[in-house]
């Protein structure tokens, strides 16, 4: 048998019997960013193809030789070699060839470190982040582009998460890339005043990405949780970088961590969604909660209070309560009172009404819902009707409650929601009968 040609030469203690979780995904994201810098943003697709090929080589050889000692370095080296082939072969690179080859072949004792130093990779990832979250790219395309290029998701994985077709996602990606070319978006981390504005865009996109994963309403649950983890990973990179290390970035990261820490408790053994009230709090991820609290403290460094600060504060209140009954609803309400001033979304107002009802009773909750501006926007939202049903049920208006639960059931998107609402509906109907 041939000697394994692909194992890493440099010896290191770490014995990898099995590659780390999501290794391919994360290396793909890093390498696409790095190769994009080298090739130029106009060749983003080529960078993706090269990385795809490098991973295919891993798939072809690792089964026979085992996981190399430094799997990430192996993927980098293979990507680099394939990239060099491409640069030599493609005429589009004729002008830049010498420069690119020199950049990639710069010989030093540790070849990979020299070409792709860790800090450089982070910079490239951030540059890519600013590209993906560029305000000129439509927000739904931003999420798809970020998942594809930064997180190494495949098109079918993205479409499964967004409950749409592969063709629709492919179209979004094509449009996003067209936009990048047309608008001559640059592969760079903005500086000065522009940085602040563009950072807001990045935070907003990462927030939406996280919510896309967090909302339990649709799509494949496991893929969605991966999206939450990816949003956290990217925000962590941002917060550790001078360009992104701002109180509002810490606030966003705190919010994500505090929410995501509750994910393990959110479904029961059968995959049914559990309400906060029903969750076994011992399943909450304590390490993640601690990280969240750390960043929440960091977020208080400045004067500014953003929606992320307020939402993180709300999440922190929930996390701090040892059980549902001891939740500090008044503190949460005061945060919601501030939040509704910054965020006019009727969904936020609906959540505020729920909190209000916890303090002042279901009637106050119903009144608050009645007072929501643009309430009609919520008419197609299952949660509005579920909440109305809940309030009416607590007021012993069983028939009205049943009507709301029925309506909510029609709008529910997931099996968990359906099962939950069916249970509530049956309880009401039983009461009416007795």
């Amino acid at each position: 048998m041939n000697p394994p040609q692909n194992s890493d030469q440099e010896p290191q203690a770490a014995e990898v019997s099995q590659a780390v979780e999501h290794l391919f995904r994360h290396e793909a994201g890093k390498m696409v960013a790095t190769l994009t810098r080298i090739f130029g943003l106009e060749h983003l697709t080529l960078a993706e193809d090269v990385v795809q090929e490098a991973l295919a080589r891993a798939l072809q050889t690792w089964p026979f030789y085992g996981v190399p000692k430094h799997p990430a370095a192996w993927i980098m080296r293979t990507s680099r070699n394939l990239a060099l082939d491409v640069v030599r072969r493609r005429t589009v690179f004729r002008q830049k060839e010498a420069q690119i080859v020199q950049l990639m072949e710069r010989e030093t004792p540790s070849l990979d470190e020299a070409v792709f130093p860790e800090q450089g990779i982070t910079d490239d990832t951030l540059r890519m982040m600013f590209v993906c979250c560029h305000p000129l790219i439509p927000s739904e395309a931003q999420a798809a582009l970020a998942l594809k290029t930064l997180c190494g998701f495949g098109v079918p994985e993205i479409s499964r998460a967004f409950l749409t077709t592969d063709a629709a996602i492919a179209k979004r990606l094509v449009r996003a890339k067209q936009k990048i070319r047309q608008a001559k978006i640059r592969f760079e981390i903005p500086v000065g005043e522009e940085l602040g504005r563009r950072l807001d865009g990045v935070l907003q996109s990462l927030y939406l990405l996280f919510n896309e994963g967090y909302k339990a309403s649709s799509g494949d649950r496991l893929v969605r949780e991966d999206i939450c983890q990816e949003a956290i990973r990217l925000t962590s990179l941002l917060v550790e970088h001078p360009a992104g290390n701002q109180p509002r970035t810490h606030a966003l990261l705190a919010l994500m961590l505090l929410d995501a820490a509750r994910l393990p408790a959110r479904v029961d053994g059968q995959g049914n969604l559990l309400l906060l009230k029903e969750q076994d709090r011992s399943f909450w991820d304590q390490a993640m909660l601690a990280r969240g609290m750390f960043h929440l403290a960091q977020s208080a460094a400045g004067e500014e209070i953003t929606v992320y600060h307020l939402q993180a504060g709300i999440a922190a209140c929930h996390s701090a309560a040892k059980d549902y009954e001891s939740t500090d609803w008044r503190q949460i309400l005061s945060l919601y009172d501030q939040l509704v001033k910054l965020d006019r979304s009727p969904v936020v107002a609906l959540n505020r009404a729920i909190v209000l009802a916890n303090i002042h009773g279901p009637k106050a909750g119903l009144d608050a819902i009645g007072a929501i501006r643009d309430r009609e926007v919520l008419n197609t939202y299952y949660l509005l009707h579920a909440v109305l049903g809940e309030f009416e049920a607590r007021l012993q208006h069983t028939k009205a409650a049943a009507r709301h639960f029925q309506k909510s059931l029609e709008l529910a998107e997931t099996r968990s929601e359906e099962q939950f609402l069916t249970k509530r509906l049956q309880a009401c109907e039983n009461q009416v009968r007795n």
């Binding site: 590659a19 999501h22 995904r25 295919a56 998701f153 495949g154």
Partner: protein
């Protein structure tokens, strides 16, 4: 061809296009499964050798090898990506092993072939050539 003697079987992995559209996550998963599959077969003594092949090489043909082309093929269902050499008792068993290939759900194709048995005539030639070989 005689099937009296069992010289083992070869699993030939064909196709270099089935994994093109896979996501990194899928590639990692299949890679891990494939690794475990090969390891298991090796530990059981069923797989005695196995190698992947580099995607590119040369194709030599013509009298005296006059034609040397780049090959085998850019992208093809037939291209050989690697092989296992199996030491198992029957074609059925080799086929049963091939059915466990983690690439199958994604379109991988496996050719299962018996290593040709030594036929009486070549055995005779072999015996005659032996003294000469011993000297070499």
């Amino acid at each position: 061809m005689s099937t009296q003697t069992n010289n083992g079987y070869m699993l030939i992995f064909r196709g270099n296009e089935w994994y093109k559209g896979l996501s990194p996550e899928e590639m990692q998963r299949i890679s891990g499964q494939w690794m475990a599959w090969y390891k298991r077969l090796s530990e059981q003594g069923k797989a005695v050798a196995g190698n992947p092949l580099e995607p590119e090489g040369k194709l030599v043909s013509g009298k005296n090898g006059r034609v040397v082309a780049d090959g085998p093929f850019a992208e093809s269902k037939e291209a050989i990506g690697g092989y296992f050499l199996l030491d198992v008792g029957s074609l059925d068993e080799a086929v049963a092993i091939a059915k466990d290939c983690p690439g199958l759900p994604y379109g991988a194709k496996i050719e299962v072939r018996a290593i040709a048995a030594v036929c009486p005539m070549s055995e005779e030639a072999h015996v005659r050539a032996e003294p000469a070989l011993a000297k070499a």
